[in-house]
């Protein structure tokens, strides 16, 4: 049996799955102590089920998102090695930032060496300022990590107790500023996250759950919980990823659909294209800080069932804030949920209170409660449909760098709108009607996120880059740099080398049984020509374990070998 738990902003949801059937669900309010909410939900669904039957537990949590939002961490000092390019004034962060000399170019060649005196000075200044956490990040460090490693080793030599993060290990994609942010946030959250992970593992252990525990990542893949300590920020936005996977599991395989997850304060939008959730082209943005974290393309719209509704002059306005529960549930202000109650689209709360809320808004304008309610619902539906349109436009604007990519760009418009989350039924049919689509409210829509967590599967990636002219290759995820001895090294050999590393990585994480089919997600081979003669090849290869989900719910379809 499989367990999925999603610790969300307002609610913590859990499900127990057995062979694609939902055996138990739970929904409890999320309290400040995330762990206690998690365990409460877990205890509800586990009632009557022996712990030995649990094969796997997958969590998704707002833990890291909350940490970053509330800035509940020690300051992180920065040592940056940007070299030429943008003016160094661009690299201003809300912390002490020391910029030192040293240049690595796009092929990983050292152009300017580090200056040891500058390295020492930067470290000393951070020490004087009281920093104990440092992120060291260089431009093109994934092509050559010598500079980053050297600075880190000097720090370790001087201050063995400091926590040091190096850029290429955290964020190996091209984009230096995002690498800085990713490294800084990793450094900031790591110890608190470690504490959280250990507490969860201990608590599960006490309940007799000895099986493997995973955590969901923003891209919809999972990592063993213990391993995730290395990359805490990969777990941001796992909530929206969870609901998207949940929808993937709840609709027929291969379907194309828009996912609308309407919660209390926000509505998350995502796309499933031919059965696969769409990945964002760029890394996730956390409170205006751009990271390199790979994430599903999810758009959060600040409107939900608990959004405050007010009257301004003759206008009725839906605000993005939440000031508590809906009026009909004893809250202070009218909300869209009250409107739904008046229209009979939900059974939540007290009908008289809901009417009263509509009267508060409508009386001064001489409008009847039903009309007020209709207008509020209309506003919410309009906001969401506009955002769905914007999402399509952004998706179509995604740059293409190859002829075939431009040619295959088609204007795919999903025909299905799938609503999940507590407030979905009241809105989704109208959203779909306006977009000319079919509305779908799947069974278990209330706990689709927990289902998504339960059916998610481990994903591991390996990005290999080989430069045969220089006779070197690197494995981004491992920060490994090796040499190529084989004179006839080519694309085929690069691919098997990448697969080898993927297998090695799976073993390292205890996932060898999950390796299964390997997907090649990127393969770029460039002939390097110098003086009209081919002098070498640049080979970029990305391989990953198969993306997807373990089960489709209620269909009896089992998608993997297990």
């Amino acid at each position: 049996m499989y367990i999925g738990v999603d610790v969300g902003g307002t609610c913590t949801d859990a499900v127990l799955l057995d062979k694609g059937q939902v055996k138990a669900t739970a929904k409890v309010p999320t309290r400040a102590d995330l762990l206690s909410s998690l365990l409460e939900a877990l205890d509800v669904i586990m009632k009557g089920t022996p712990a030995e039957l649990i094969k796997r537990v997958v969590l998704s949590t707002t833990m890291i998102t909350n940490l970053i939002a509330e800035r509940k961490f020690d300051p992180v000092g920065l040592i940056l090695i940007p070299g030429p390019g943008l003016n160094h004034d661009y690299y201003r962060y809300d912390t002490d930032t020391h910029i030192i000399s040293g240049v690595i170019d796009y092929r990983g060649r050292e152009i300017v060496a580090l200056n040891e005196a500058e390295v020492d000075l930067a470290i000393d200044k951070l020490a004087v300022a009281g920093y104990k956490k440092v992120a060291v990040v260089g431009k093109f460090s994934m092509r050559n990590n010598a500079h980053e490693n050297h600075v880190a080793s000097v720090i370790k030599g001087k201050y063995p107790g400091w926590q040091v993060e190096i850029g290429h290990k955290v964020a190996g994609q091209l984009n230096f500023p995002r690498r800085v942010v990713s490294a800084m946030l990793t450094c900031a959250t790591r110890d608190k996250y470690e504490f959280f992970v250990d507490s969860v593992l201990t608590a599960l252990d006490q309940r007799g759950i000895k099986t493997s525990v995973f955590i969901l990542k923003a891209d919809g893949g999972t990592l063993p919980l213990a391993t995730s300590k290395e990359v805490p920020i990969e777990t941001i936005y796992s909530g929206p990823a969870a609901s998207t996977l949940g929808v993937q599991a709840l609709i027929p395989p291969g379907e194309t659909a828009v996912v609308v997850d309407i919660g209390g304060t926000t509505t998350d939008l995502a796309l499933i294209l031919s059965g696969q959730p769409l990945l964002a082209r760029k890394g996730a943005k956390v409170y205006d800080q751009r990271t390199q974290v790979r994430a599903l393309a999810v758009k959060s719209v600040p409107v939900g069932g608990d959004s405050v509704v007010e009257r301004a002059g003759k206008e009725i306005i839906v605000y993005s804030e939440r000031l508590g529960s809906p009026y009909c549930l004893g809250g202070p202000m009218p909300t869209p949920t009250d409107a739904l109650r008046v229209m009979g689209l939900t059974n939540l709360g007290d009908i008289d209170k809901a009417r009263e809320a509509m009267n508060l808004l409508g009386d001064p304008l001489g409008i009847r409660p039903v009309e007020v309610a209709a207008r509020i619902i209309e506003l919410v539906v309009e906001t969401i449909t506009n955002e769905i349109d914007q999402m399509y436009i952004r998706w179509e604007k995604n740059p293409a760098y190859r002829v075939w990519e431009v040619l295959q760009k088609k204007k795919v418009r999903p025909k299905t709108i799938v609503g999940v989350g507590g407030n979905a039924p009241g809105f989704v049919s109208q959203i779909a009607a306006r977009m000319g689509c079919y509305p779908v409210i799947p069974p278990y829509f209330m706990v689709a996120n927990a289902i998504g967590a339960a059916v998610s599967r481990p994903t591991l990636q390996v990005n290999l880059r080989a430069d045969t002219e220089r006779g070197i290759y690197s494995i981004q995820e491992e920060g490994y740099q090796g040499t190529i001895k084989d004179r006839h090294f080519n694309e085929e050999k690069a691919l098997s080398l990448a697969k080898e590393w993927l297998a090695r990585r799976s073993e390292k994480y205890g996932l060898q049984d999950d390796l299964g089919e390997v997907e090649v997600t990127r393969k770029e081979v460039f002939n390097m020509v110098r003086d009209w003669v081919t002098s070498g090849k640049l080979i970029d290869i990305s391989v990953q374990t198969k993306r997807g989900i373990l089960h489709y719910i209620g269909t009896g379809v089992n998608c993997s070998g297990d």
């Binding site: 030429p84 943008l86 003016n87 500023p177 760029k282 460039f526 390097m528 003669v533 640049l538």
Partner: protein, 458 residues
């Protein structure tokens, strides 16, 4: 209202090459991609990246006579490169973007009006296609193109040689020392567009200093006088000191300063084949200059200040040329038309055009109507030998956007007559920009086509 952005279309055509070892190959913008992506400049609020779209066959026919048909001269990569420039042009004209950079390949500035094949790595002219599109779609009146490639932009020059509304300025390495061997100061445009073509041949070894002297004292004053509604930079980057094909000594900073001063609406990438030592830095610096960002930290790895010196006599030569071209510009409306172009109904010139990439030799007779009412229609007779004996002969008629009724009527007569009487021509073309109609007649099949398919029987 947000800030007005710089639009970027980066289309490196990672799956298109002329041949595997050709300078115009997949690898060309690879390191540029690495540099631009690693800098993270696309995340800056001042820069927005777009996906390219395809130009249509119709858009190509508005500018070129492709022999025998557009489809036989262009690949999808060409349509994407041209389409990218058009897309950014649209958004700049509409006011959505402040300016734009089409960082695209394949390049285009050697492609002339008649296209028998590939010359100078170019099949179709991205800038010219954009210019004609902007005039047609948005009614833009006056445009200027400044070509900063080391090679003379002979294709662009040829297309607009008789067009008084498009000012073409090219500075480049002296044609006596480099392909295509043209671009001398006496090439100044046809009778109806005199001094709307300005060529500034610079001696090999010219540095940033002289380059900027020319910019400040010649190019900018002329542009300020002409006042184009839309300004384009054909942003070739092979004047760089590390370029393998050129012999000039410009730097990334020199190019970026140029971009900042010129302040074009659009930059369109042309040549530049120092793919490792120049392109990553130049493209980054130009993009940042367009976006109004500080590019002073962009440096080539081996650059040291003061590493280039010019011979004073060469500098003196350039200064004199600037003087004389300024004089030409000042007196552009006083030239003796009869003395320069004769008094015949048509001004005509004979041209021999060599297609270096495809080894084609073309002989062309170009006639332009010396009209008082409009820029005059053109008749082109062209024959090209593809090396294996088959000589293809074509007759092409082109009507300008602002043609007078007489020229329109006469031009159609020439076209219709050609179909019936001029049996020596295998193909006959009509490019009527005034009504956006493009016709092609194939003698063998006795069939006429409009740009997008066969013309329905009447």
């Amino acid at each position: 209202m947000g800030i007005k952005k710089t639009g970027l279309i980066f289309f490196p055509a990672f799956d298109w090459a002329i041949s595997p070892t050709h300078p115009e190959r997949e690898e060309r913008l690879l390191y540029t991609r690495d540099q631009i992506f690693e800098e993270g400049v696309v995340d800056l609020p001042e820069i927005e990246e777009f996906s390219p779209r395809l130009a249509t066959i119709h858009d190509i026919a508005r500018t070129h006579f492709c022999i025998p048909r557009v489809q036989s001269q262009v690949t999808e990569a060409h349509l994407i490169a041209s389409g990218a420039a058009m897309l950014l042009g649209d958004r700049i004209v509409s006011g959505e973007l402040n300016n734009g950079f089409a960082m695209v390949r394949p390049p285009g500035h050697h492609a002339m009006r008649v296209v028998h094949g590939n010359r100078g790595f170019c099949n179709i002219n991205n800038e010219a296609i954009m210019v004609e599109y902007l005039r047609r779609k948005h009614g833009i009146k006056k445009l200027a193109i400044v070509d900063s490639d080391v090679h003379h932009g002979d294709g662009t020059q040829e297309i607009f040689y008789h067009d008084p509304d498009v000012l073409f300025i090219s500075f480049h390495q002296d044609g006596r020392t480099i392909f295509p061997g043209t671009g001398f100061t006496h090439e100044l445009g046809g009778p109806n567009a005199y001094a709307k073509t300005i060529n500034i041949p610079l001696p090999p070894g010219t540095t940033d200093e002289t380059f900027h002297y020319v910019l400040d004292h010649l190019i900018m004053p002329i542009l300020n006088d002409f006042k184009p509604d839309f300004l384009i930079n054909s942003a070739g980057q092979d004047n760089h000191y590390t370029d393998p094909l050129g012999s000039m000594l410009f730097t990334a900073q020199g190019y970026a300063d140029f971009t900042r001063k010129l302040n074009p609406h659009m930059a369109v990438l042309e040549g530049g084949y120092a793919i490792e030592t120049a392109l990553p830095y130049l493209n980054l610096a130009i993009l940042m200059a367009l976006a109004g960002q500080d590019y002073s930290y962009v440096r080539e790895p081996d650059y040291r200040p003061g590493m280039f010196k010019e011979r004073p006599e060469k500098v003196e030569q350039v200064h004199k040329m600037v003087e004389s071209l300024l004089d030409v510009w000042a007196k552009k409306d006083e030239f003796d038309r009869e003395k320069l172009f004769g008094s015949g109904k048509f001004y005509q010139r004979k041209k021999n055009i060599y297609y270096d990439t495809d080894y084609i030799e073309e002989e062309q007779l170009e006639k332009v109507r010396q009209c008082d009412q409009c820029p005059g229609y053109m008749i082109i007779e062209s024959g090209a030998n593809r090396g294996y004996g088959a000589l293809i002969r074509v007759l092409a008629v082109s009507i300008p956007f602002t043609a007078c009724p007489d020229c329109q009527t006469e031009a159609y007569e020439v076209y219709e007559q050609g179909k019936i009487e001029k049996k020596q021509f295998d193909y006959i073309y009509m490019q009527d920009k005034s009504t956006d109609t493009y016709l092609a007649y194939e003698r063998n099949k006795d069939q006429e086509w409009v740009s997008e398919g066969p013309k329905p029987e009447v």
